[in-house]
Structures are given as C-alpha cells and as structure tokens.
Symmetry: C2
Subunit: 223 residues, 2 copies
C-alpha cells in the first residue's frame, strides 16, 4: 500500500495531485477559492495537462468542484454535508469494528494505543492541523484491522470532507473536547468487545455532530 505510493511518484499528475491536496488541507487553498490551472502550472514548472488531470481526480474525490469553462474551486462542504459525512463515517467504522475486533492482534492493540497517545499529545499542543492528521490516523488504523480493503478505500474517500471541518471550522471551537471522545473507544478495544466499540463510536459520532452544529451556529449558519 505504502510502497506502491512511493513507486508511483514518477508521474507529474500524481505529484500535482498530492501538492494540491496538501495545499487544501494546509489552508493554502481555502474553501471556495479558485484553483487556476495556468497559475499552478507556472508555480510548479509544468504544463497545464498534469494539473488538469490532477484536478479531475480531485473532483471525483469530492475535494474540488469543476465547472466547464469556469474552472475549479475548492469545495466548501455545507454543514448538512459535514454531518451526513459523519454519519456515513460512523456506519463504516462500526462495520470496521465488527469485522476487525475478532481479528485484532496484540500488536494491533499496541499500535492503536500509541496512535491514541499521539492524538492526545496533539490535543495538548492545540495544533489543529496535526490534530486532524492524528485523528485520521487513529481512525484509519481501526479501519485497517477489518481486513476489508474496500472498506478502507471508501472511508478514505470520505475523509477529506471530515478533515476540512476539523481544520477550518474548528478554529471557532475548543479542540480539547475531542480528547474525551476517544478513550472509551480504546478501552472497548482493549476489552476486545466489538459491541462496546460500536457503542463508543456511536457516542463519538453523536458528540461530534452536536459540537459541529453548535460551532456552526456560533459561526452564523450560511447553509
């Protein structure tokens, strides 16, 4: 999975793809901002073609929106969309837990605990960008245990939307509330209790949705 990624990186379009994706996550390309093909091409010293290919891939991924002859702009997920994505994520992770817990090795458990510690450390620093990354890693690791590659792929396709939330809307919210959501999940995993994990995930989702809604309300709902 990872080695494949390092091999595939001889193609400009892929590099541009990563560049843009990272740029979007880091806030360099904020939501709703335009991405001008020629500008990016000049910026990276390439021609338009690879940029166009990358943009088209990003469109399918749901990260940007392309209108013919008008160009690409970064999608800014509406509040409903964010909550919808969270609901789907939870359903997927719940399936992941049901499949994964019976297969979970001790090594898995150690790794997840470590990732959880890293997540908590990120919460402590208050660095939202890193927090989003750690959060993604933690959940992805749980998904990976399921052994269902398709599940991981689908979840991954959903992740950019959720991440946008954490990096862009969270500035108005207190990130420390995230801290409390994950320990129950870890405890349930340590007990190897799949049902408990599912319950913990459901609570995670409910709390996150609630927080999300109130954060959006404070922001002045534009959707």
């Amino acid at each position: 999975m990872t080695d494949e990624a390092t091999i595939t990186r001889n193609v400009l379009a892929d590099q541009v793809h990563d560049y843009l994706l990272q740029g979007i996550f880091s806030g360099r390309f904020p939501p709703d901002s335009r991405i001008v093909e020629t500008r990016v091409a000049r910026e990276l010293g390439t021609s338009q073609a690879p940029v166009r290919e990358a943009l088209r891939a990003l469109e399918v991924l749901g990260v940007v929106d392309i209108e013919p002859f008008k160009g690409a702009r970064v999608r800014s997920p509406s509040s409903t969309e964010l909550i919808e994505a969270y609901a789907v994520r939870t359903a997927l992770e719940s399936l992941g837990a049901r499949l994964g817990v019976p297969r979970m090795t001790d090594a898995d458990l150690v790794e997840i605990t470590e990732l959880h510690d890293a997540l908590q450390a990120a919460v402590a620093t208050g660095d939202r960008h890193m927090l989003a990354e750690r959060d993604a890693e933690f959940h992805a690791r749980i998904l990976a245990m399921s052994g269902n590659a398709m599940l991981a792929r689908v979840w991954r396709s959903l992740e950019p939307v959720s991440r946008t939330y954490l990096t862009l809307l969270a500035p108005n919210a207190d990130p420390t509330w995230t801290a409390g959501l994950h320990p129950p999940i870890v405890r349930a995993l340590q007990a190897r209790d799949a049902t408990a994990v599912q319950v913990a995930l459901a609570r995670h989702f409910e709390d996150a949705s609630r927080q999300l809604l109130s954060a959006l309300r404070n922001l002045g709902a534009k959707d």
Copy 2:
C-alpha cells in the same frame, strides 16, 4: 444531480468518461483488458488529453487501474474484493434504511414498488445487463430516501464494482435467485419497519455472498 450531468456534457473528457464506462459495463472492454489512450482517441476522433483525463477519473472511481508508463487496464475485482464491497454496500444501505424509513412518503413507497416490479420483470427476461441496471436502480432509490446525499455518493462510488459482478460472473450462475432476495425488503418497507428492513438487507447480503462464493468456486477460483 441529473441536470448537472446534462449541463456538464460540453466537455470532451466527460463524454469520453461515459463512453468508457458504458463500454466497460457492456463488456466492450472486458476485465483485465488494456485501454490504449491513442486507440480510444482515434476511435472517438479526439486527442489523447481528454482520454487521459477520463481515465484518471475512472481510476479514482476504482474502475480501471493505471500503472505509470504502462497504461490503463480494466480492473477485474477479485472475489474477496467483491465480497468486501458487498459488505460495505450492506452497511451503507442499512444506514440508509434507518434514516430513510421514518421519512418515507407514500409516493416513495409506490415508486419503490414499481422499481421492484421492473426488477422482477428483468429477472423474468433473463437479460443480465438490464437486471444489473434494475437492481442498481432499486437499491439506489432506497438510498435516496435517506436524504443523505453523501451516503448516496459513497454508495454510488461502490456500485461499479458490484455491477461488474452481476454482468460478468453471473453468466455462470442462475440469475433467478436474485428474485427471492428483494420481496422481503419491499414488505418490510411497506410495513414501515426500519429494523425489519435492516434485517432483510442483511439476509440479502448473506445470500448474495453465498451465491457469489459458489459461483466463483464453480468458475475455478483464481483469487
């Protein structure tokens, strides 16, 4: 959703995209066969660029596989992948039912019943291509009721994989078994019993997986 599709059709890349997708579904491009950019371009009277963009989109969709400097070939999902996809599909549809049944109108119910009739008619004719289409429509309609656009989108991204199965592996199996899977779902919907729908869907999944496995075994498992 549909109007957007008709608007976007002034761009060659999109037309090529549809052309290829249809070609794959119809068996014109069988699994594992190469798709040569220059050939398709000549075939359609365009240059390579739009073809490349279309292929890249199809790759993200999971329909084709692109290896750098080696080209694109139609993905032939392995049996494990198919079953994985089915599991994910079921989880998504289960969520869809839980969200959708409480919102279901009488008109929804009528439409679903009609789609179910159409599905049964397709079973009767034995036309596998049409059967795949009707099956997709039926399930998509249930998903749509949830009102969760993100859920529909994710499900849609998974659909090509499942459809490949019905059109390409089913030749060896008897398609009539599909007929028995759906009436329980419809009945549960008519009773507006979300839990019953979820149970019916779970059964649908189990039966489909079992059929799939035995069909693959007869075919000589290559995965």
